[in-house]
Each structure stands twice: as C-alpha cells, then as structure tokens.
Symmetry: C2
Subunit: 209 residues, 2 copies
C-alpha cells in the first residue's frame, strides 16, 4: 500500500467513517453513489468528499458516481481490516462482555484469541466461544500465543499495573476504555482511547447551549 | 454563562478533555498546575493550552500556574455538568448494563430515571437502583416523566422505529451507540454518536502503518 504515505492525517481520520457509510450502502445493494448523495448522507461537503477520495485513486467517474464495492475494499485495505492481529481482552465485566459480544473484531483486522478477568468466579465461562481465563494466566498465555493488541475494559485503578505487564509481554497496541493516560507513559505504543464520559459531556454541552 | 458565545468550536471540543484531566489532578489533591506541566500530561502544546484557557477567564497567574479547582468548576459549568437532565436508557443488554452501571450520569449533567428493554424476561431486574421496564411502557413513562434525553444501546435494526417514537415523545437529545444515522433524519436533535468500530479501525490503521 505505497499510496498510504500520501494520505494526510485529517483524511485518515475520516476513513473509518467513509468505510462505515460505504459498508451500509454495500449491504443495501447500492452499486454507485454520487459525491452529492454521499455528502448528504455523511454531512460533509461534496467537494470535501471528492478531494478525500481522490487521495487514493478515486474510483469515481464524472456524472456517474463512485463504485461502492471497489472504494469500500480499497479503504478497508488502507485501514488494515483484512489483518488478523492476535488480540486479547482484559476485563470481562458488563463492558468487556458487551465489547466481546458486539464488536466484529474479525471484520476490523483483529482476531480475539483470549479473554481475562481477575474475578475467579468468572473463570471458565464462555464469551464468543472463548473461555474467560484468570488474569494469573496472562503471562503464560502471552508467551505461548504472542498477542499484539489488548482491549482494556478494567477499573481505572488496575490499569497502570496491567499496562506495565502488557508492555513487558510485547503488546504493541491498546484499545483503552479506561481513563489511564497510557500514551504519556508509553509513547511508543499504539493507543486508541474510548472516553465515553467525554462523549456524554459533549452531548451535555450541546443541550446546554 | 454569557461568556460561552465567545468560545470557538475547536476549543469546545477540547473542553471534556480538559475537564477529565483537571478532574484527575483535583482528585489527587493538586491545587495548581503550570501550562507546561498540563501540556506534558495532555499532549497539547503549552501555548495551545494558554490560548484555550484564556477563552474563559484563565484562572492562571504568570509563573504560578492555574487554579485547578476554579478552572474545573468553570469548565464544568460551561459543559452543564450541574444540570439534571432527565434521561432514559433504551436497551439493557450487556452494553446497556455497562453504560448504566459505569457512567456517572449525575456528574455529567444527567439524571437517569428509566431503563427499557424489549425483552420481557428482563422486566423487573434492577440496574443502578432502577427497574428494567418493558418497552411497551415507554409512552406512558414519557408522558408522566418527560425525559429529555435517551441513551440508545439497542440493535441497529430497531433504531429507526425507536427514534421515531422518541421524537414524538419530545426527546431532545440522543446518546447513540447504534450506527443509525439519526442526524440525517432529525437534524434538529442533539445527537452524540459513539462509533466503537470507527475507534477500533483507527487502532488497526495505526498498527498497520
């Protein structure tokens, strides 16, 4: 994917959104879409969309529209959705269970191979075909299976210790649902934070103003 | 809060993040912080922080730092965290349960007053002190209690119908965990979307490049 190096950061940040909208269109059986129609659905300007999509080949024809299947596949390749990055989930409470159950990891480039919790009472229960393992088995599991990514659905107070352990076990990326500021401590890790309370406060601001 | 009208959109979007970092500092008993130290922790430049915080009074003294408690309270006011917006949760599966259990609604300006699900087997179970109600009771509940915000933790295929119903019941804002494009249909609603798969694909891109 040599083309990637020419895609600017703001465009990259919009890629998952394009991928999501194109995925819905594809599922509905739509084959082509104009930049005007896509702009209406996505809430971006049509010229913004034309500019963005030109960055990686376009797949659009003047007056005819974009080929949805090709564009979807190309953006998927850039995002790496065809990878199978071995991934573990730490924390199998309500949030962890929801994430394991609802997220289509395999369609986003990840392969969920292990689930861990510190609660011994959960050990052996199954989530998405995987047994919940006690956290004490993390070291051996990682040595044997070399996961590269961890999803953190644990209480904030455990986060520091767990991340320290994960880094030693060669984890390269973290999908972080805690508020622990991982990037400040480990700038070399790939970290994507989900700050649900930020999102809730943004809604509060909207309603307040 | 007359000052608000002078705050630009990019600053507003950073407010929940400032609020989160200041909240951690406050909890740790820190009273003052310099823009340099705050910039290190937040991964913004110090001049960006000084510019942002000057927008609403500053509370900083040259060479002394920002008063954390005052700044935290002021940003909280702007975000509306002291409101008690009556809020309902639709969908009490794993995700809904996790959201109801972990989110501190009352510290973010919301008052969770009702939980609904279409699964009759869940009816009567308690989440955070609230009974799960069957969705058929939504109309009467809303007539009696006038919630203004709904949190949607339901399968995508139910979203269109539920949102239509909520709009008729005078809901003004939606915290949307589905992929249903509410804003395209109802531009007058305040909507905050949580697109977890976008976040996961952003991590995939980071690891891939």
């Amino acid at each position: 994917m040599k083309k990637n190096s020419y895609i600017s950061l703001p465009v990259i940040k919009r890629l998952p959104r394009y991928y999501r909208f194109l995925g819905i269109l594809k599922k509905n059986g739509t084959e082509k879409i104009s930049s005007n129609e896509l702009s209406r659905q996505m809430g971006l300007t049509a010229s913004q969309i034309r500019q963005d999509l030109n960055c990686f080949g376009g797949f659009g024809q003047q007056g005819y529209g974009y080929n949805i299947e090709q564009l979807y596949a190309e953006i998927g390749n850039i995002l790496g959705v065809n990878n199978k990055i071995p991934t573990i989930l730490i924390g199998a409470g309500n949030l962890g269970k929801a994430i394991a159950t609802h997220m289509e990891f395999s369609e986003r480039g990840f392969d969920l191979i292990g689930v861990f919790d510190r609660n011994e009472a959960l050990a052996g229960q199954m989530i998405k075909g995987l047994p919940i393992r006690h956290i004490s088995g993390l070291y051996n599991f990682c040595k044997d299976n070399s996961p590269a990514v961890a999803v953190l659905c644990i209480p904030e107070e455990s986060a520091k210790e767990i991340v320290e352990q994960l880094v030693k076990l060669n984890i390269k990326g973290i999908w972080n649902f805690t508020h622990y500021n991982i990037s400040a401590e480990y700038p070399f890790l790939s970290v994507e934070n989900v700050h649900l309370s930020d999102s809730l406060m943004t809604l509060s601001y909207q309603l307040n103003n």
